[in-house]
Symmetry: C2
Subunit: 785 residues, 2 copies
């Protein structure tokens, strides 16, 4: 837990804020006119227990990543010793790892894709055969049982693994990756175990017929691959390969994870540029040219590798037509008339509304699950139940609706005749008896008369409900494909309806409207902007269609935001993650550091006794301690507490809890030969323990060593970023965001430490918007979630 969140309830308790404001005023002449009366704030000052599923709480449990380079003595020593050749070598290693990330992510994607392909082929083949067979034999319950058996059996495996082995592998993983890239340390997100569960989980979801996609999980998988490859060791397997040790730092690891996520997008959609933009849009606070270039390299390599393998697998080696797992197929003639842009905007409005409905209902469902479906076995049962319902609904539609279309250019692999005449097939069965992304392709490319609008509308409603129900189950499943499918269905319906009104319109192509509908629905749900546009452009392979897609997405996003937040954001808030936005909340300039910061702060002297250090580390849970040189109060208390504006001593540096633990663990306070070796190891000693540090309880220190002293100066960061107590919230926010800080020390006029700002202190201020109104909101911080 970070500095100053020791007792979060005190921080938000009634009156504490105004109390601080009054104190500040006395030191700051220019600003006392602006007390906290304006702009209007929605304050959550209640101290009662936080309700489950509340969106305005931050959990105290999430810690920040530390992107700051600690330029201490060891760092300078290493830099002097290694020189430019090491700098070059490190750069070469970086490129090599990005190459590996691209290749490995592609291979993983291929494994997922082919396994699903094979399983689905078997499953739908059997079902089709049984339907064809039983129609004459009157045993239609048999294909139902087969379908049920397949679905429930396969989903059981996946949901069991997710529920009992690694719950963090549930869902799409995009919100979690987004949080990680934003700078929040998401526990267990990047472990190998998570990857294994995710891969098996997503195969079981799609092959098991749930309304979930493999694209989100693919992005998560890419991120894990990147994190694993770059560290040259596996903490889970307790195996250290020794190479790439110099990348064992948060900021290096984050760069690789950005590349992995981008490669994941590239593999999922065949969109290397979209992948780069995804990583940037979701993650990077600081645009770095060479990093972006490397990320682009990884995603290009990934698309290329995937393309080569999949082309060979599908029997066209060298043709390179399989850019990604999700293939929108080839659009022949995607032209549009000027007035159609208005239609597309209108469809954007529908997408925004439907997306908000999706988000809101799923949110309510998630809260219900958080309250009542807590036991793991219940979660597994729910997943199996949904799988069974999916099969039931699908078969019911096939059995009851007679939507017959002539055979010919078969849009499906398993055409089912049902009650249709010879040379006809049941078009609703065609939609159900294939994986959802094949259905998306069908809706995009089927010839104009392939579908009946009312059946399609019914299909859309049912699939919409199923996909809402599916997300949040204890399975690995993304929302891209189900959302696209829903949108493509109603988009195509609109296209068909327009065809009824203007039967002679040459510009009309229901497939085009299906594409716009899919984009609108997706935009209304996820609310991504430029990256989503580029992903869709790349997935359609058509650059001309950029502007229509963009306008649709933009309308969908704006309309959606009028009603509620984006889907991923809602789930992030449900998890109470302290995510930092891109910009500080508007009109927050009259909030000052002294109001925002946490205090009192526990400080350490430059030379400290081992016993004292152990005492502080045992009693406090803070992650960073300012080091000061003028200790005014040499009492026996473990921590030195100062009230606001009182001197905490002149700031000398900042030392992290993890550094202190390693110092104690390796007895760096003893001047022995062995210690000397450790000191020669320098930063590598600290890297060795990254990212899982010992706890204070794991460290045994003999009684006689308790009186030793230790000089913190070689280890501490000698010039941490600071801000003055009069700095405004936007100013601190920009500093924090642009530099990826974890701790920002607040000093007074004479450079004495008076407080500390961490991520949660800033994430606590958020703008609320509701039907056109807006204001500043203060979130609660709770350590209960």
């Amino acid at each position: 837990m970070e500095q100053n969140e020791k007792d979060p309830l005190i921080k938000v308790s009634s009156g504490s804020l105004s109390y601080r404001t009054e104190e500040v005023v006395t030191t700051n002449d220019e600003t006392n006119a602006e007390s906290s009366s304006w702009p209007p704030r929605k304050q959550n000052r209640s101290t009662e227990t936080v309700a489950v599923g509340s969106l305005d709480v931050l959990s105290a449990k999430y810690e920040s990543l530390d992107y700051e380079v600690c330029e201490n003595h060891l760092f300078l020593e290493e830099e002097r010793k290694t020189g430019y050749s090491f700098y070059i070598r490190k750069n070469v290693a970086r490129w090599f790892i990005f190459l590996l990330i691209g290749v490995c992510t592609a291979i993983l994607g291929v494994i997922i894709d082919i396994t699903i392909d094979v399983l689905s082929h078997i499953k739908y083949g059997y079902i089709k055969d049984y339907i064809d067979h039983c129609l004459t034999e009157d045993c239609l319950y048999v294909p139902y049982l087969v379908w049920l058996g397949f679905n429930v059996g396969i989903v059981l495996i996946g949901s069991f693994l997710v529920a009992f082995v690694e719950p963090v592998a549930a869902g799409s993983g995009i919100p979690q990756v987004k949080c990680y890239l934003n700078g929040v340390n998401m526990p267990r997100l990047l472990r190998i175990k998570t990857l294994v569960v995710k891969v098996i989980g997503v195969i079981s979801t799609v092959a098991g017929g749930l309304a979930g996609g493999k694209e989100g999980p693919m992005i998560h998988a890419g991120a894990v691959v990147a994190a694993g490859l770059s560290q040259g060791k596996s903490s889970s397997a307790n195996k250290d390969f020794g190479f790439f040790y110099y990348f064992r730092e948060d900021h290096e690891k984050r760069d690789f994870v950005s590349g992995g996520a981008a490669a994941g997008v590239a593999a999922a959609f065949g969109a290397p540029v979209g992948g780069v933009l995804f990583s940037l849009e979701e993650g990077s606070s600081f645009w770095n040219q060479s990093l972006t270039w490397r990320i682009f390299f990884a995603s290009s390599v990934c698309t290329f590798t995937l393309n080569i393998i999949l082309s060979s697998y599908h029997g066209h080696p060298g043709e390179l037509n399989y850019y990604g797992l999700l293939n929108f197929g080839h659009f022949e003639n995607l032209n549009y008339e000027l007035f159609e842009l208005l239609l597309f905007c209108f469809m954007g409005v529908i997408g925004g509304i439907l997306g908000s409905v999706y988000t809101y209902v799923n949110y309510k469902l998630t809260v219900f699950r958080m309250r009542y479906i807590k036991a793991r076995i219940l979660k597994v049962l729910e997943a199996c139940f949904v799988a069974a319902v999916s099969a039931t609904v699908g078969l019911l539609m096939i059995y009851t609706l007679d939507d017959c279309k002539p055979l010919g250019q078969d849009p499906t692999e398993h055409p089912v005749q049902m009650y249709c005449r010879d040379n006809e097939y049941n078009s609703i069965a065609a939609l159900w008896l294939q994986v959802p992304e094949a259905s998306v392709r069908s809706l995009f490319h089927d010839p104009p008369a392939s579908h009946d609008p009312w059946t399609l509308l019914l299909f859309m409603v049912i699939y919409f409900i199923l996909s809402i129900w599916t997300y949040g189950l204890s399975v690995s499943a993304g929302i891209f494909i189900p959302t696209l499918l829903t949108g493509a269905a109603w988009g195509r319906v609109i296209g068909i309806l327009i065809g009824y009104i203007y039967p002679n319109a040459t510009w009309l192509d229901p497939g085009k409207y299906a594409l716009i509908g899919a984009a609108a629905q997706l935009g209304g749900v996820v609310r991504m902007t430029i990256s989503l546009t580029v992903i869709l452009i790349e997935a359609t392979g058509n650059i001309t269609f950029g502007l229509p897609l963009m306008m649709t997405l933009m309308t969908a996003k704006w309309v959606g935001e009028f009603f509620c937040e984006g889907f991923y954001d809602v789930h992030i808030h449900l998890q109470a993650v302290p995510l930092l936005d891109w910009d500080p909340p508007p009109l927050s300039s009259n909030l000052f550091a002294s109001e925002v910061m946490g205090y009192p702060v526990v400080v350490l002297p430059t030379i400290v006794k081992v016993s004292k250090l152990v005492e502080i580390l045992s009693s406090e849970t803070y992650c960073g301690f300012p080091v000061v040189d003028k200790i005014t109060n040499e009492s026996s208390q473990p921590s030195l507490l100062y009230s606001l504006m009182e001197s905490g001593g002149k700031l000398r540096g900042l030392i992290l809890r993890s550094q202190l633990l390693i110092i104690l663990k390796n007895k760096l306070y003893i001047e022995s030969d062995e210690t000397w070796n450790h000191q020669n190891l320098g930063r590598n000693l600290f890297r060795h323990h990254y990212p899982r540090y010992p706890t204070i309880k794991d460290i045994y220190i003999p009684e006689e060593e308790m009186n030793f002293t230790i000089d913190l100066r070689p280890y501490m960061n000698p010039s941490p970023y600071t801000a003055q107590h009069v700095a405004s919230l936007p100013r601190i926010f920009r500093l924090f965001r642009a530099l990826g800080l974890r701790h920002l020390i607040i000093v007074n006029d004479s450079n004495d430490v008076i407080g500390m700002v961490t991520r949660k202190d800033l994430a606590r201020y958020r703008v609320w918007r509701h039907l056109g109104h807006m204001g500043l909101e203060e979130l609660k911080i709770s350590d209960k979630i």
Copy 2:
């Protein structure tokens, strides 16, 4: 001029650095081991006059833009008064301006394109007619004279305007826009006069047959359009329309200029995504999601508008096939075999080498011009001479080389028979008798046997030399098209040669190799990375070909960087612009703020006498003054000088020269009714004067007002960013770069002002690389350039 560059020669004079280092050591125990001996530095400590054309000098004349929001009293007052409705209105206005930027840039692009089209059509039509006519009449000198007359006449207009009216309109404008986006205030870059000269200039360059393109100037034009539209006034025309006054700040203007540059790229290449990436790669230090989205909006709108107008102009309204000014044409089947990637890399190597040759020779030529071609009339004459040579060389090639190809699918508008048989045409005349971008298209798409490799090679060499000669003339001309044409020529030659070796290769398409050659050459010259790849992908309209393009560009860049810097960078260094790189120079952590900063600093007390203020502003040229509250030395001297580590008083804020001038100009020190009105105007008073502030000589203050005092606190920035004297160079650099600072105040342990860091202090440290070696270099700063 900024704080601390008062006497630049002192700063770089021999020994001053080590002197400072010694002083620092006494206050910093941990770092005294690392004195300046390591890593190796190449120090330019000479005091002699700087040689013309030197690459390791920074001019003291360029000032920084100021992206920091000055959160003073007036700011808070405005924020409180205007509230959320104003915030929303401002956002709507932003979107509206980005829409306008897109539309207007497109219209400008269309005007340029159509004018060039018409002029070229007339010119080449006449020449073709005369050649056809004179071949029988034996008057071949007539078409030569016609060609000469056209070229020299048209170029004369453009070069006269550039030389005598607005020299900043010369060249492509990309280096200057890059500097502006980096944060350097380039004088006169964004004025309407510059735009007019640029537009006429680029038309005259291309229509006049010089080896220059219209793409670079298009980007510059977009930037000017954006700057003009966003400010709601024209300082040149002395007209204030009153709207958009709230965008009259450096950081707002920069955002719009990013959008304009992106729209320019979109118009030039039909590459909206490439445009966004260009703006980001060249400009943004801080990735901002909503800004990026707006930039994308502007570039999409721009492509769309341009497409609509050009499609109608070319007689296919509604077909929307003209994405940009430069159209690569439709590539049918851009597939490639795996082993071809190696070939592409090899071509990248050639591109890197040729690009370096291009850059180096042009650099030498530019230095020659800086020394000897100084008179404006000489510049005009040189441009006309090159125009004449271009015509001569072209006609000589047509007259002497008989490269006949059968007529049929005419790749050119004006096929010339010359000495060819009937039903044949002269293929070299086809290359010369059209605008260069049409030649690029010919080389990409002509059927395999259209060109003879040796003629093509000769053409390439001649065009290469012409294009080197052309850039740097006093005309507006970009390098994209000539570079692409050179590359396409040798690329096609390679394609043809491979065809000789493997006559049966089905994968072989000379057009594909022309494309790769063009990319390699361009990559070797400009060394852009992701944005160039995406621009080329969008211009070819083929996403599959992303990886080959990327690998070619990457190889070309790496090989090129082994030899010399990129073309734009060389020209930026020649202009001695203090450009900040993306990252701090490697291994510079042992340089500390106390070594980097400028000192002594001129500080102001919080309450200052008018006479003193006038005195300081008259005698000092600094742009920012720290405001302190404890003045230890109340002498009559205009400035308070402190030696290193001695207290300059407790830091209270930072006030800019421009603010002080406006305070004096508007007599804000007098408490009259009129002043009260001014104070009500608040920030608008300051915005009114943006960006051209009065000088101290323009301000008359009566003798009786000289004894008035003024309280600076309502106007100053109360919490400027600071760093401690022990902060390392990379730490300061990141702070500076990420936040777009202009002044960074350096304080000591007790928060007393001891120095100031500006852009030039950081830009002064640069890595030199030469054939595999690297080290840290300190540039000279000179006020002579």
